[in-house]
Amino acid sequence: MKRIEDVDFRRTYGDTPPSFERRVAYALGHVEEEKTVKKWPIKTVVLVCIMLLALGAVAYAAVTSLVAKQYGAFYGEDKGEVEWSRNSVSDDVVTINAIDGSLVDGRMIESLSGLLNK
């Protein structure tokens, strides 16, 4: 009578084929090559992107406020519009920062722009 311990289960699937061993060696060699190329973990990539976005936002805000301080709030605005406001006469309506106002003359715009610069 054969006992269960006597059954050589290791022989169920036979010996490891040489082609299998070669593929294991190839795959290991492949990942070792990859090791030399520094891998960036996803967390690092996300963190760097967030930092770059934050730096970009700060730089934009700084440049915008410096430009406004140096050249006035209307710097870079449509020249025609500014010109129109300068040449406007009484009762013309102009909208600045979503606020409608009527002009006495072009000078009012200039004083208003001075206020915005402050």
Binding site: A27, L28, E32, K35
Partner: protein, 158 residues
Amino acid sequence: MTIEELTGGVVAAQGMLYRVSASVLRQPCDQEDAVQSAIEKAWGKLGTLRDADKLEGWIVRILLNECYTIKKKRKRETHVEAFAETPAPMNADPDLYRFFTGLPEKLRVPMTLFYVEGYALREVEQILRLPVGTVKTRLSRGREKMKQDHAFEEVQWL
């Protein structure tokens, strides 16, 4: 865990990796694809393995997942008849090979891990992520089938 430790662990366990892949996939080229893919995935996820002692079970788990993925792909591509009986591999026990390959996969994989690879019940449970009761039931059903097989009817299971 370093690449050197992974390499050492994989080389030491390559016989076991072959038998586990053979328990799911019949075609040698599929078994080789599965092991290569498993090694590459293991390398990619190496940082998630905290306990180096669990490398073997961890890589078996990855390998089984790769085997199931390839098997699903092949089922879509190939007609079922192509998976018909294949000759026993070199130096395999023909009776054991015939019996194991004739088992349904859900019995064959736990039987392979427990009897062929000698994993403990708890390890099989962890690798297959199945409740221990399910593993016990599958092993018991596998044993029953073995007892009924004419090649093993004289085997004493005590």
